[in-house]
């Protein structure tokens, strides 16, 4: 099957002010299947954000390429959308107008888009806040508006860079659930970049550990959790396998720390 997202022998350097190049990513090969949630974990400075920026098209890699559904990124009909830790809502726009920003920047906002946005905001419990400004709602609500803005673009690949790490634990679990059920409903692929091992295990089907300088894929671990009933943010954390995965990934991260 053609992967939804493929990272093919991707290498990248940081160019310092004096022109010297520091290699950051070294021949990365990662493929994400349609409907798969993949977590990329690594220590800070491991090149996670650089990788994120390359996948989202903000940076051009030194070598290698990104393919979406088998074609080079930016050429096909498939769409990548991303979400960061910062909600990046525009303070002068209402919740609804913020949610519609992505559509507005790509073309014209139609009545259908508006209805879609309202329906999705209502689903996230923001019905009463549709006309509120971002400063009037909570951090968790803001992040949900950001998620709505991202999802209204109907992405085939959703990129998340530590999207919930600034939120309180409860809100974070709720949003993790939101993302998991969205994947179930829409079949989109999700790439989660994080340093939070628990979040990585709880949410994803696979965890890739980036390690070394320049970063390489040091581990590629499929996550299989035995949960009572549906897998969600809580039941995943209660699965008997959870601790073992945690120890394994933590071990992989720690060994790279010593090596570095």
């Amino acid at each position: 099957m053609t992967p939804a997202l493929a990272i093919r022998s991707l290498s990248h350097d940081f160019i310092a002010a004096d022109g010297g190049a520091t290699p950051v990513l070294d021949r990365l090969d990662i493929a994400v299947a349609p409907g798969e949630i993949l977590a990329i974990v690594g220590r800070s400075g491991a090149g996670k954000s650089t990788l994120f920026n390359i996948i989202s098209g903000l940076l051009s890699p030194r070598s290698g390429r990104i393919e979406i559904a088998g074609v080079p990124a930016g050429t096909g009909n498939s769409r990548i959308a991303y979400m960061l830790q910062k909600d990046l809502l525009l303070p002068w726009r209402s919740v609804l107008d913020n949610a519609l920003l992505g559509i507005e920047l790509r073309g014209k906002v139609g009545a259908v888009d508006r209805e879609d946005a309202i329906a999705m905001l209502e689903r996230y419990g923001l019905a009463a806040q549709i006309n509120a400004y971002p400063h009037e709602i909570s951090g968790g609500q803001r992040q949900r508006v950001a998620l709505t803005r991202t999802l209204l673009l109907r992405p085939t690949v959703l990129l998340l860079d530590e999207p919930f790490s600034a939120l309180d634990y409860e809100t974070r679990l709720m949003l993790e659930d939101d993302v998991m059920s969205l994947r179930d409903e829409r079949g989109m692929s999700v790439v989660l970049v994080t340093h939070d091992i628990e979040e990585a295990i709880a949410m994803s089907d696979r965890v890739v550990v980036l390690a070394g300088r320049p970063a390489r894929v040091s581990q590629d671990i499929s996550i299989g959790l035995t949960t009572a009933g549906r897998r969600d943010a809580i039941s995943a954390r209660e699965a008997p396998e959870f601790r073992a995965y945690h120890a394994r990934i933590w071990g992989a991260l720690k060994s790279t720390a010593i090596a570095a």
């Binding site: 920026n53 990548i80 960061l84 525009l90 002068w92 920003l101 992505g102 507005e104 920047l105 673009l153």
Partner: protein, 274 residues
């Protein structure tokens, strides 16, 4: 039952909280008024009893007489109008041009840094020193004062606008780029709205600068305006008219500041500190 009691009781503490606050404000304002009136009374008594030289210091009643005369002859209103017109025209001209240049630099990042340096140098030039030059170029009419006011405000607006672009969250810019926004759309939907608070704060600062520009222009060469009035009165030792001019100029600055603040409140409803 208990819920009913709760809702009925809820507004009361708020009402109780508001009233001491209002009373405190009232007392403070009354205290300020008393101090000012006492000061004016002392000034008047000192001038009447020749404890101070009335010729050199003027007196409150003298200022009132001067105001009365100015109002009956119509010169006070006319001079105020001239200065207000010059100030507002110069303020708008300088602020719009400065903001336009500052924001426009976003389109040409290569020259943004050197241009910002130039605007800082421009800001440190004592604009008033350009007065005689401007009067020679644009004559002694209103246009030279408008230009002087505009020059006095241009750099502040430009510096504020370039700062607003520089302080812009790079992640926001990246988000717009990743969403495929054109440069025009980025400018209209991100750069411009995020500069609005900066534009207003520059505008508030510029009110004072524009007023200085207009008044100093009138000092140098003019036929009308409060600056002209003050200058002429000063050279005739008519200190009461000088004071009157200063008072009207202060009122004018306060009025303009109030108007800008009201417009800002109308436009910038989304700021969290409101």
């Amino acid at each position: 039952m208990s819920a009913q009691i709760d809702t009925a009781a809820a507004p009361k503490p708020r009402a109780r909280q508001a009233s001491p606050h209002r009373t405190r404000n009232l007392i403070q304002n009354a205290a300020v008024a008393v101090i000012v009136l006492a000061g004016l009374a002392l000034w008047q008594i000192a001038a009447d009893r020749h404890l101070i030289n009335g010729q050199l210091f003027g007196s409150p009643l003298g200022i009132l007489a001067s105001a009365h005369q100015g109002l009956t002859t119509g010169t006070l209103l006319y001079d105020s109008w001239v200065t207000l017109y010059e100030t507002v025209a110069g303020l708008l001209l300088g602020s719009i041009a400065g903001t336009g240049c500052g924001l426009g630099l976003w389109f040409v990042p290569k020259i943004a840094r050197p241009a910002e340096g130039v605007s800082i140098v421009l800001n440190s030039v004592p604009k008033i020193a350009l007065g005689p030059l401007i009067v020679i170029w644009f004559g002694s009419g209103m246009s030279s004062k408008i230009w002087l006011a505009a020059i006095s405000t241009f750099a502040v607006s430009m510096i504020a606008a370039t700062a607003s672009v520089r302080e812009l969250d790079r992640d926001l810019l990246n988000l717009f780029r990743a969403l495929g926004a054109s440069r025009g759309k980025i400018f209209r939907k991100l750069i411009l709205p995020s500069a609005v608070p900066w534009i207003f704060s520059a505008l508030r600062m510029n009110i004072g600068f524009a007023l200085i520009g207009a008044v100093v222009g009138e000092y140098i060469a003019s036929q009308a305006g409060l600056g002209h009035e003050v200058f002429v009165a000063g050279s005739l030792f008519d200190l009461n008219t000088v004071w009157l001019g200063i008072i009207v100029l202060t009122l004018m600055a306060s009025l303009l500041t109030l108007i800008v603040r009201l417009i800002e409140e109308r436009f910038v409803t989304w700021k969290s500190d409101r």
